[in-house]
């Protein structure tokens, strides 16, 4: 893995970014509805709407608006939210860390759940233990997040009072505590996906010659499991994890709603529904870059784990 590769990959994000930029601009302006009348609702007379549109520059031809958008972007400015009347960059700056925290937390919990259980299922494959683990995660995979989240909230939060209901707290420790349930909800879903692949790769790796070779060397089974089996089995899983984390970043909407977490997922949905163009555009661009970075990170980790991976 070399820095030239990283730089090249980073440069590749630029055309992607441009494509996303054009696409999102066209798309948000193509969909019917406009921010002003949505915000003003019933009471807005055509005059008022027209005036507000003029103030926001929404009366200009689309191509001009696009030009202005690009010019602003070049100055590092993502514009100002039409609804909240504060700079988009600030808005994202406030909310993104929460979502990222949640995402990483969920990924960590997901992996912590998936790895030992997948290994257990693989080692005890085709026994009731395996069936139980797979059944449990199938359950996790088949239930909508809002249902799962609410059940966890009701049970672990309200009934047993183990965790706070919603919110995310002030300090790092608070975050860990408050975001446990939402992270668990997302993590369960993630783990459900991971367990499937991880289990089959562990099974596959277990039959590999080098595992037998390791046993023939007289190594302890713990060493064999971690050094030889898991390291190899994780290779395929890391890519999958990357793909899923990418999806998680933008897909935490429902979790954020259920758990009252003011993250970007919720912001995005609100912004789309209210046609808050600058927010949608800004968030989309940030998402795209983030997801691309996650993919890059995944590839780098992959290369770390698998010396055979060609990173040139």
């Amino acid at each position: 893995m070399n820095s030239a590769y990283v730089i090249r990959r980073l440069l590749q994000i630029i055309p992607l970014f441009l494509a996303v930029m054009v696409l999102i601009f066209v798309l948000v302006h193509l969909i019917p509805g406009d921010p002003v009348s949505t915000l003003l609702g019933d009471r807005a007379t055509p005059d008022i709407v027209a005036r507000a549109n003029k103030e926001l520059g929404l009366d200009k031809p689309l191509i001009v608006q696009f030009g202005l958008f690009v010019v602003q972007l070049l100055h590092g400015n993502l514009g100002e939210s039409i609804n909240l009347k504060i700079p988009v960059l600030r808005l994202i700056g406030e909310r993104l860390p929460i979502t990222l925290f949640l995402t990483v937390y969920a990924a960590v919990l997901g992996v912590l759940m998936a790895v030992p259980l997948a290994v257990l299922a693989a080692v005890r494959r085709n026994t009731w233990v395996d069936a139980l683990i797979r059944g449990f995660f199938q359950f996790g995979l088949s239930l909508p997040v809002f249902y799962l989240g609410l059940q966890l909230l009701t049970l672990l939060g309200a009934r047993l009072g183990l965790f706070p209901i919603g919110g995310y707290g002030e300090t790092f420790g608070d975050h860990l505590f408050h975001l446990f349930l939402p992270a668990l909800t997302l993590g369960l879903n993630l783990a459900a996906v991971l367990v499937r692949t991880l289990r089959s790769s562990v099974i596959e790796v277990l039959t590999a010659e080098y595992v037998d070779f390791a046993r023939a060397k007289g190594l302890r089974s713990g060493v064999i499991m971690t050094r030889h089996v898991l390291r190899n089995a994780m290779i395929a899983t890391v890519t999958l994890l990357g793909l899923n984390i990418g999806a998680l970043i933008g897909g935490a909407v429902i979790t954020e709603t259920v758990f009252a977490i003011p993250g970007v997922g919720r912001l995005m949905v609100d912004a789309i529904f209210s046609r808050d163009y600058p927010v949608v555009q800004g968030l989309t661009l940030v998402f795209a870059v983030l997801v691309a970075l996650v993919f890059l990170a995944t590839d780098l980790i992959h290369a770390r784990l698998d010396p055979r991976a060609e990173v040139v």
Binding site: P15, L16, A19, V20, L23, I24, L27, V28, L30, I31, P32, G33, G135, Q138, F139, L141, S142, L143, P144, V145, F146, Y147, L150, Q151, T154, R196, L243, G246, A247, G250, G251, V253, I254, M268, V269, I272, F273, V280, L283, T284, F287, A288, V291, A292, F295
Partner: protein
Amino acid sequence: MTATLPATVTVAPVPRRRSLKPTLIIGLVLLLILLLAAAFPRLFTPFSPTDFDYTAILKGPTGKHWFGTDNFGRDVFSRVVHGTRIDLQIAFFTTAFPFVFGTLLGAVTGFRGRWGDAVVGRVADLVVVFPFLVLVIAIVAVLGPGLTNMYIAVSAVGWVSYWRLTRGEVLAQKKAEYAQAAQVLGYSPARVLLRHILPNAVTPSVVYLMTDMSLGILLGASLGYLGLGAQPPTPEWGVMVADGKNFMVTAWWISTFPGLALTLAGVTFSLIGDGLADALRPRA
């Protein structure tokens, strides 16, 4: 030269078919049940899934209403059974196009490579980094709400997975000797790809298709939560779960039973997927 070839070599009687794995059998049986429920919902249900019964609002499960009734006095059991058709439809339509298109595209680009592959790769990148929800909402907003447009939105994104899977597999398979043999036998590229490589490269896609079907239904539920999915009074499991969420405390049965149905469908698809992975693996 007097070669002493054995006139014929006896061919050992190998069992023609590996016996189907129990998982696949259970999966197929469950699918059959689901299909029956989808085809003839009335056979199983004494009540209409849409008619109100003001005298039985929010009643818990009883001998009459097995799964209880909802806030309109509709029989939850009937709604769950009738929902089967919609949800299988969702499972089918959210995956049919992505599967066919993604697989074929993956086959062609994997086989041909070069610039077509590069272009599709870039488009796939774009699709993957673009927030899905924005796309769905945009498409639904332009075309109107409802399942059809949800299908379109999902299709616009869903093909990428199949494209990746098939492309990778075709890349691997085209190096296999049987594929090269087909080329050397002077078959047209189309024949080599479609008749020889594709059938051997489609398995991962088919297996993923099963997972994807569960995910499709689940997505339908999530979009239902945002009001972008099935439109009332259509009984759709995901939307039923979403609708029942306000009654989760007072009338748990409204969302729990459709939730179980979702799980059942998920289990069915995943059992079939695992079974198919096994059955489709060519025997060496």
